[in-house]
Every structure is written in C-alpha cells, then in structure tokens.
Symmetry: C2
Amino acid sequence: MQTYLDCYPCFVRQTLQAARMAGADEAQQRDIMCQALDLLGRHSVGTILSPPEIAYRIHKMVRKQTGVNDPYYEAKQVSTQRALALYPELKQVVHQADDPLDAALRISIAGNIIDFGYSQDYDLESTLKRVLAQSFALDRRAELRAALSEADRVLYLADNTGETVFDRVLIETLDVPVSYAVKSGPVLNDAVRSDALDAGIDLAAEVIETGSDAPGTILRQCSDDFRRRFEAAELIIAKGQANYEMLSDQGARVFFLLQVKCPVIGQDIGAPAGSIVLWQGG
Amino acid sequence: MQTYLDCYPCFVRQTLQAARMAGADEAQQRDIMCQALDLLGRHSVGTILSPPEIAYRIHKMVRKQTGVNDPYYEAKQVSTQRALALYPELKQVVHQADDPLDAALRISIAGNIIDFGYSQDYDLESTLKRVLAQSFALDRRAELRAALSEADRVLYLADNTGETVFDRVLIETLDVPVSYAVKSGPVLNDAVRSDALDAGIDLAAEVIETGSDAPGTILRQCSDDFRRRFEAAELIIAKGQANYEMLSDQGARVFFLLQVKCPVIGQDIGAPAGSIVLWQGG
C-alpha cells in the first residue's frame, strides 16, 4: 500500500511516542521531532515509500538518537503479562466453542488491538468480547479453512508483542505445523524472538526470524533464508495492518487477519475502522 | 499557552484539511505538506510560538499556495445555515429555562463544537442536548454573573462560524451592550464580518474586527483600535480554545467559554477533553 498524506499525522504522533518511550527529555524530543519532520519532508514527494518503510526509518532514527535499543521493552513486557493472564480464559473459549477454529481465529484477531502504532491504550477484555461476537467486514474464513486442510505447513507472520499469546491460542488450535516469524530486532512493539518465547510460542510452533527489524514484512530487507521460506510457503497467515500494507499483492496464499484501526487502511482494504477482517491476497 | 510537541500531529492534520478545502490536487497537497513540515521543523526548536501563531502561518501558507482566499467558505456557509435552522429551538430553550442566563451560556458553549481545527464532523443536536445537561468541569458562572451586573459593555471575542448563531442567543439574553469582535480576514472556519452578519449578530450587538486574520486573538497582530478597546474593556467573554491559548494571562476580566476538545489544552486548563468550561483569566 502506498503512503497517503493522511498517514503523516500518525507518523508525527508515533515519533513523539517513541521518543518518550525511549526516555528522551523535552530538548531531545524536540530534536527528534525536527529530524522526523525533515525525514517526512524528504519522503513526501518523489519516490513514495510504504507506511512501514517510513515508520522503519523514523523508529531507527529515534533509537539512534536516544541510544536506546528497544524503547518499547517495558511496555512489551507488560503486554505479554496481561495477555498471559488471559491465556486460560482464551483456551476455555476455544474449548467450549461449537467451532473451535472460528473462535481461535477471532481470538487471534482480538489480540491485534495491542498495537502501539495505533494507540498505547487497549482493553483486552472488552476487545475480546467484541471480536468474539462481531461480524467479519471481509470474510475469507471458508477459503482459509480449505487452504489449511491442504497445507503441510503454515508460515505465520507475527505482529505485536502480547498479541503473540493470542496467536499461540490459534496455532494450538491448528492441525498443521507452524513456523512463526518474528522480527530480528526491536521496532515499535513488534515481537522479537525473546517476546515470542515469553508468550510460549515455542511450545506450539517453530520460531523463525525475518532477518529484518522493519515493521510489517519488507521482503527486500529480509534475510535470504527468510525470503526462500516466504517464496516456498503454500499458506501464509499475516497478522496486522503493517503486513497488509506490505504484502497485499503477494497472491492468494496470503491470508490477512487484522483489526482495521486506521481509516486510511480501511479505505484501501474496503472495510471501515473498527472492523475485523480475514482477507486474502490477490 | 506554549506549543507542545503533542500539537504537531494536529498541525499536520490541519494542513492537509486546509489544502483539500482549498481544492488542491494530490501533487499540490504534497507540496503544501512539504512546506508545512519545513515550517514546523523551523519552529520546533528555539523561540516557541503559541499554537494559534503556528496555525496562522500554516493556513496563510495554504491560502498563498492555492490562491484560495477563504478555503472554508462553503463549509462556513453550511455551518451558519445549520445553526440558523436551530435558532428557534435555542430561543425556546432559553425562554423556557428557570435560569435563562445559565441556559444561554450553555448554548453558547454548545456552539463551540463547530471547530474545524478539531474536526469537520459535528452533531449540533446531540451536542446541544449533552451540554445543556453536563456539569461544568471548571465553573466561574457566579463570578461572571457578578461581573455582568457591574459592566457597562461586554467585549465578546468570536470564534467559529455557525457558533456565531449560538453566541447571538447568549448576547440576546444579556442585559449589557455587546461588541462582538470577529477576524478581519479568513482563517480556518473562524468568523469574519460577513459570517457574523449571516448569523444576524448585528441585530444584537455591535460587530467590530480584531484587525487580524490569525486564529485566537494575537494581540500584537491586532489593530491599534482593537487593542485600545481590548485594554479598556471591563469584561471580556472569549470563546473557544484558541482564545484560551492566547489570552489566559490577561487577567480576571476575561472569561473563557469553551468545550475542551483537545487533551493538550485539557492538561493546560485542568479539565479533560469532553469537558465544558467557563473559566476566568488569572
């Protein structure tokens, strides 16, 4: 997906959030803001990058300026703890469901609310309740079921820390082995390997890395090994908005599970903000 | 009030809104965004301007780039028509109230929802219903009543077009002559003289101008005549957030009537976003 001008207020907001998460003082926040505005200015005309590519540059700059390698470290720890506290309830929901796969898909989508690119505030309990009852605005559940029944392995592209616990519940419900791909370095609250292990993903899936520390999955920045796995994958489950922004043109083997939190993505995917979506690449 | 870094996402959003209101195409919107980012970068360190002073520069730049003198002209016309359609109901509310002045103050504050610096979308009916019943988060109604009983004239600083109709209802309820100050040139959806006349303000008050086309009331940009009136005024009613941002240090003769729509102003004034406020300068 291209970057729309409507994305710019959000980049500016994310810059400030990241600077504060990294503990920058007021003067350093101003310096960082200044650099982000300059960066955005340079990318506002000419070659247009995708939103995750611009976010990647901003977060990298903030890490460099502050010298803090993982500004969201503590927030991520809290997210995982909160999600793990819900884990028994999530398992119970799947266990008691008439359609366990449907329940687990919804749970995985519910976890996508833990998105610091969108907001630092989230309410897991009320989101879970909503998503378990909500209609899908875009619905390829039948196609995903068919693909799951034929696939030998699923490549599962992780998104945020804490959401990992919700992903684990879905993975534990699948009958197919899963490779769970996390980032190779911190960016925003995206999950890295240690975040996935904290969620216990390794008990349910093989944990692999994209080779990149960019949000979403920017294939040309990924390792050769990951790209080979990506090319060879029969079935890919891609979580969250950033993966949709990067991979919507990667064919029908990619299924996107997300909450539409942003009106710009909503416009692009064809479902309003607030929707839950299980979409398939074209 | 100083400009906080938290204001920056909002400036970027306003830039895009103004460019679109002026009918700029995609390429021109990108040029305008680029210039706004540059402008914000230059003002993010060193001498810090107030939010209305930065907004003033942005909107002036958009008008210059597009050659459109009043980008919000049509939107303002619609706002006035919608507000005038409610005028009989507003008068009825005051007429039937046990405390007509209290009702009229609330009506004037309800009209402050028509603020394109905050959002293009507003619902007058539901806002009116809410504000007529809502508790004041900051409440100097008693002090304002006392000041009104002693003043020979009120200087009333207008804010947005359409809100003008709600102001008219308050002015018609006062027993004191009013001078109603509008901007001398278009900026955002702020009222200029013709907007005030469309609302019928001239039937209730003397309409005067600030001499400036800046949002809020930036005294050093106002005409000598207006500044003399401002200095001499015994009692000033200042509407909206931008007037609060500029005039909160102008003494106890200034009463601020507004809806707190922005969390940054909320933090500064000491009342959460969503509040209604009748505050007094210090």
